[in-house]
């Protein structure tokens, strides 16, 4: 279990206790948080679960694999060095305290 904080586009923040093995995308959708569409179900097909990591976390998480890296070129909001697809961010206990920012748009 890890506490993940989502920064929403309206400026508010929401923290969720995310079980180990659950993705940042799935946890947000299960809780109905706005900002992640995640249309394809988490299969690296739609690039609509884009989030920005807090900078200090970028090097602490496993790096994006090739396909995620390709798809990040197609996100609606501009890609930053902190950009990730949240379907690929599968939480473990060491991620406690991670903060992600929702982008302005997924389309």
């Amino acid at each position: 279990m890890a506490k993940i904080t989502y920064l929403l586009t309206d400026g508010s923040a929401q923290s969720l206790d995310v079980p180990t093995g659950t993705s940042v995308r799935d946890a947000a959708l299960a809780d109905g948080l706005p900002g992640i569409e995640g249309e394809c179900g988490g299969f690296l097909n739609c690039a609509t679960c884009h989030v920005y990591l807090d900078e200090e976390w970028v090097d602490r998480l496993p790096a994006a694999e090739e396909l995620e890296d390709e798809l990040l070129e197609g996100t609606a909001a501009e890609r930053q060095p902190t950009s990730r697809l949240s379907c690929q961010l599968v939480v473990d206990d060491s991620w406690d305290g991670l903060t992600v920012q929702m982008p302005e748009s997924q389309y």
């Binding site: 097909n45 197609g74 996100t75």
Partner: protein, 414 residues
């Protein structure tokens, strides 16, 4: 439930489904009562050579199961119905279709998809908004001066074809021939082919599009086509044959289902004048209306999957090789997921549906379709706020790609 009741109930449902699958126009126009019957009959219905799955949560679980494979479910029936001397037509059609992105599996699917996915990404599609708006403005100008305007024949099939032609650098004049051949080829896709005619359509489409693509080689062209020319798959350049196949797939996939969304969607909206007027007064609802119309008026009411081994998914057992017909149209109107599912309500919030599928084969063109439909709704309601139905809609006599041949309207301009 007793076994005799089960048998009787299943028989009734089976008869209704057979008529629907055969393209009975009255049933295609309104499949919802049959979907409700099928869902009530149980989570799976084994009939003829198929396993029919109708409930949202089961279908979603199957689509998201990486073991599920796409297949063309009518192959055995097509070959059995074709005289031996004509079977080579059927076999060539099957071989051709099996190479489409949408029909491929595993590494081959990944290879093809990676060649084109960025061309249909949210970012690339968002940049097409200006083109889509421009195409729509021109089409609506033409529609306004039609004596008997029809939003399928004058608008619905032109919009997506003009867009995909622009993306692939195909002359727009070719859209008439592409449309004609696509309609014929579609009969094969939905299992209703005259194999000779569908084979002819396949050959014509491949030749036409192949010639156009070849004529652009070495010339300045669109980003997608240039990307395909430049493409290397697994370290090897995409073959010319692959390139043509993929392009034909994109042209077909890029227009027929979207045409059906336009027709089915406008019919649904104009049949609910309160919702039409709501959209007229609240254009900010266009995106939400798009999602609701995709759910309510599903243009792809079913897709197919199979498993290579015996599996259990969401508590349901499927044997290796069974042909699963996943009723997306039923899933989208499942009351276990959608409150009051038979009510068209363009104000539904956070709506998710299965119209584009889900999982490894999630629709490549979903962002483009959403853009096209949202823009179409915005512009038609602004320009023709008094539009209304002006005649009987005519459904195509097919079920699996559900759409209209004709939808006459009165634009309310006089």
């Amino acid at each position: 439930m007793t076994s005799s009741t089960q048998t009787q109930s299943a028989g009734t449902v089976e008869e209704s489904l057979r008529a629907l699958f055969a393209g009975d126009r009255a049933l295609v126009a309104d499949p919802a009562p049959i979907f409700a019957e099928v869902r009530a009959a149980g989570p799976v219905l084994r009939m003829d050579d198929y396993v029919v799955v109708s409930r949202h949560r089961d279908i979603e679980a199957i689509l998201n199961d990486p073991r599920a494979r796409v297949e063309y479910a009518y192959a055995d029936a097509l070959l059995a119905a074709t005289p031996p001397e004509d079977r080579w037509y059927a076999q060539e059609l099957l071989d051709f279709f099996a190479r489409w992105l949408a029909q491929s599996n595993d590494a081959e699917h990944d290879r093809l998809r990676r060649l084109v996915h960025l061309a249909f990404s949210p970012r690339t599609v968002a940049a097409l908004a200006v083109d889509v708006d421009q195409i729509l403005d021109s089409l609506l100008d033409d529609l306004a001066i039609e004596e008997h305007p029809d939003v399928v024949t004058d608008l619905g099939y032109h919009l997506p074809l003009l867009v995909i032609c622009r993306i692939l650098d195909i002359p727009v004049e070719d859209r008439f021939a592409i449309h004609e051949h696509s309609i014929e080829f579609m009969k094969f896709i939905v299992g209703a082919a005259d194999v000779k005619q569908s084979h002819h359509a396949m050959t014509q489409l491949t030749t036409l599009i192949g010639d156009r693509i070849e004529s652009r080689r070495g010339q300045p062209t669109t980003p997608l086509l240039q990307q395909l020319f430049d493409a290397e798959a697994d370290g090897e350049r995409l073959s010319t044959d692959d390139l043509v196949m993929l392009t034909v797939n994109l042209v077909f996939g890029g227009h027929d289902t979207t045409t059906n969304v336009v027709g089915n969607g406008l019919l649904a909206l104009l049949s609910h004048p309160d919702q039409w007027q709501l959209l007229v007064s609240r254009p900010d609802l266009a995106r939400a209306a798009t999602e609701e119309l995709l759910r309510f008026a599903s243009p792809v009411p079913e897709i197919h999957r199979t498993f290579g081994t015996d599996v259990e998914v969401n508590g349901l057992a499927f044997a290796a090789g069974e042909h699963l017909r996943l009723l997306l149209g039923s899933a989208n109107t499942d009351p276990q997921v959608y409150p009051d599912p038979q009510t068209l309500d363009i104000t539904r919030e956070g709506l998710r549906h299965l119209t584009f599928g889900q999982g490894p084969h999630y629709c490549l063109g979903q962002a483009l379709t959403r853009l096209e439909i949202t823009s179409l709704l915005t512009k038609t309601t602004a320009r023709f706020p008094q539009m209304r139905l002006a005649g009987e809609p005519v459904w195509k006599p097919f079920y699996a790609l559900r759409g209209l041949e004709s939808l006459p309207v009165d634009l309310g301009l006089r």
